[in-house]
């Protein structure tokens, strides 16, 4: 990839987001998908804060959301440098319409009860660990360095999700019932994490990013282990949700984005 060489030199007067990269709209698009996943999931987790079952969980969920915002910032600012528009992380987060967001539908699913949030976290964090561990070996040094850091962070998020899945699965009859129902609710949305289009295939072939599809079997084996330990059944959904990667979202997504962007849109030309 041409980008691997370009990012090593930092000329004076570089934009604050980091060194400029030669335009690579494909990689920009792919990183936007990943950045949107992190941003939208963080936005959902923010909705929990002050409403969690314990204060310890308010703390844990805000910690996880904070890491995810960090991932979104790295990914979106790089995407803005690569897509030729020079947009900043905030331009991408705050000025795109909901149809321009390319996160998976899984990440935008409403929080539901705590079990639904845990099930969503279980699915996402196991995927994210595998994804970032592989990204750590990217041919692109900037992405590789990010992969190393992000993999460490999401490993903690995965531990949090694993513990709660088992705790709820093996807790009380009510928590077992809710956790199983939550898995059933979330599972049809997990397939989209592993979808890949021609762009993703090309980028994966060049060693720049992981192939999402290639992560699926390991992901399934690992989540199956946790769900089994929890005394629950891995759902076998008869359908699979799709559309987020091409900007076709759930109806609940519009209000989420409207809320995210409301203050910034209310003060055009503002400085923050």
């Amino acid at each position: 990839m041409s980008t691997t060489r370009d990012v090593t030199a930092v000329p004076p007067g570089s934009p604050p987001g980091g060194p400029p990269s030669a335009a690579d709209p494909d990689l920009a698009r792919h990183l936007t998908c990943l950045g949107d996943d992190a941003l939208v999931l963080a936005q959902r987790l923010c909705q929990w804060i002050t409403r969690a079952p314990t204060i310890d969980e308010d703390l844990a969920l805000s910690n996880i959301a904070l890491d995810l915002i960090g991932h979104a910032r790295t990914l979106l600012s790089r995407a803005g440098r690569l897509d030729g528009t020079g947009r900043s992380e905030d331009d991408l987060a705050y000025t795109r319409s909901e149809r321009e967001f390319t996160n998976t539908l899984l990440t935008e699913l409403p929080n539901g009860d705590f079990a639904v949030t845990v099930a969503r976290q279980l699915a996402y964090t196991h995927y994210a660990v595998l994804h970032y561990q592989t990204l750590a070996h990217s041919a692109d040094p900037e992405l590789a360095a990010f992969g190393v850091r992000a993999a460490k962070e999401v490993a903690f998020h995965r531990l949090h999700a694993d513990r709660w899945t088992v705790t709820l699965g093996r807790g009380t009859p009510e928590s077992t019932r809710r956790m199983q129902r939550a898995l059933e609710r979330v599972w049809p949305y997990t397939g989209e994490l592993f979808e890949e289009d021609d762009v993703a295939r090309r980028l994966a072939a060049s060693g720049t990013v992981p192939s999402p599809a290639a992560l699926h079997d390991t992901w399934l084996a690992r989540v199956t282990e946790v769900v089994t330990e929890a005394g629950l059944a891995v759902p076998a959904p008869t359908w699979s949700a799709t559309g987020g990667r091409s900007g076709l979202h759930t109806e609940e997504f519009g209000p989420l984005i409207a809320e995210l962007q409301s203050v910034r849109r209310q003060f055009p030309g503002g400085t923050w």
Binding site: T50, L59, T172, E174, S175, L260, V263, W272
Partner: protein, 343 residues
């Protein structure tokens, strides 16, 4: 406490000191500036005052998460969103340190939360104000946390060890929040005229709650209390100071806060909403309008929309999460079983 009964069967009882000796030892520790630790003997009044104060502080951290937490989803840049998340997370952490400090005095976190939920204990009434705009998050961090730092810095040297140690961590983080709040306000003040208006409006609404409510009622006549209120406040403050729990009167700390904020507001180009603020050469302090405590007491009782809303929000979260906490307890008991059976 009654004098220890003599029981020859118990080795210690013959040599156990009586309350007078215990009190003398306690007073000597306080006089020497030593800390009191959980296993030390302490007067009941000292324990009660500490539980009340630490619990109120812990509750304020938890309730204080609400006005700012409501803006997490709307923070206008990803940088500000990260900063606000980190701040709200710190507040949850402070609540936890402080509940732990209170637990060393023989109370239970669940009981303290129950007391908050059912009106037997209170959080600072400062947070019974709404955060209406994004600028409120800046005003809260700059002014309310700024007041907290001034109030709490002396508590790093408070006489009860676990409280003092918790406060050292809390104060470090609070000082950081104040700088972030000031920085947020500075960005708004350097922005568009609409942003400056939003900043000024937030300061107009948060100045008095910070001045009045973060420091407690006036405890000197100079602070604006009538003679009776001042005498009452002063008596409580005197007791707390004698025990080394407090180090300064409420009014001294309030003055220190005003003296800190006035030049900061000038640098921001914001007006503090008190026409009486002016430098008093003779006193070496800024004058300001004495707090009309009676008005505050009436306005901020339990029966206001926001006082009720804060507790209702907290209680709803607690009740919605009951099944999760029950599951955690049941799971812990289950995983303990094999070890218990083997013992």
């Amino acid at each position: 406490m009654t004098a220890p009964t003599t029981n020859p069967a118990t080795e210690d009882s013959a040599t156990a000191p009586d309350e007078e000796e215990l009190l003398a030892h306690f007073d000597a520790l306080i006089a020497d500036g030593e800390t009191i630790e959980p296993r030390d003997w302490m007067p009941d009044g000292y324990r009660r005052m500490l539980v009340r104060q630490i619990a109120q502080h812990a509750h304020s951290e938890i309730i204080g998460m609400q006005p700012e937490g409501a803006w997490l989803t709307r923070a206008p840049s990803l940088h500000r969103k990260s900063v606000l998340l980190a701040k709200v997370q710190d507040e949850a952490g402070h609540g936890l340190y402080l509940y732990s400090a209170a637990e060393t005095l023989g109370v239970d976190r669940a009981d303290l939360l129950d007391a908050l939920h059912h009106g037997r204990q209170r959080a600072s009434a400062t947070f019974n104000h709404p955060a209406l705009t994004w600028a409120d998050t800046g005003a809260i961090a700059w002014l309310t946390d700024g007041a907290a730092v001034i109030n709490q810095a002396p508590l790093c040297r408070t006489s009860y060890g676990p409280y003092a140690r918790a406060m050292r961590r809390v104060c470090q983080e609070e000082a950081f929040h104040v700088r972030q709040g000031y920085d947020l306000m500075r960005a708004l003040c350097e922005g568009t005229s609409e942003q400056r208006e939003m900043a000024q409006d937030a300061v107009n609404r948060w100045w008095l709650p910070a001045v009045a409510l973060m420091f407690g009622p006036p405890d000197t006549e100079a602070g604006g209390a009538d003679a009776r209120t001042a005498a009452l406040g002063a008596a409580v403050s005197r007791r707390a100071m004698a025990w080394g729990i407090k180090r300064h009167t409420n009014d001294e700390l309030r003055q220190r806060f005003v003296d800190t904020c006035v030049p900061q507001a000038e640098r921001l180009g914001l007006t503090l909403p008190d026409p009486a603020i002016r430098w008093n050469e003779e006193r070496g302090h800024y004058d300001f309008t004495p707090v009309d405590w009676d008005t505050y007491r009436r306005a901020l009782g339990d029966d206001t929309h926001w006082a009720r809303q804060r507790i209702a929000h907290r209680l709803a979260a607690h009740e919605d999460g009951a099944w999760v906490r029950e599951a955690a307890v049941a799971y812990a008991a289950r995983t303990d079983e094999p070890a218990g059976a083997a013992a």
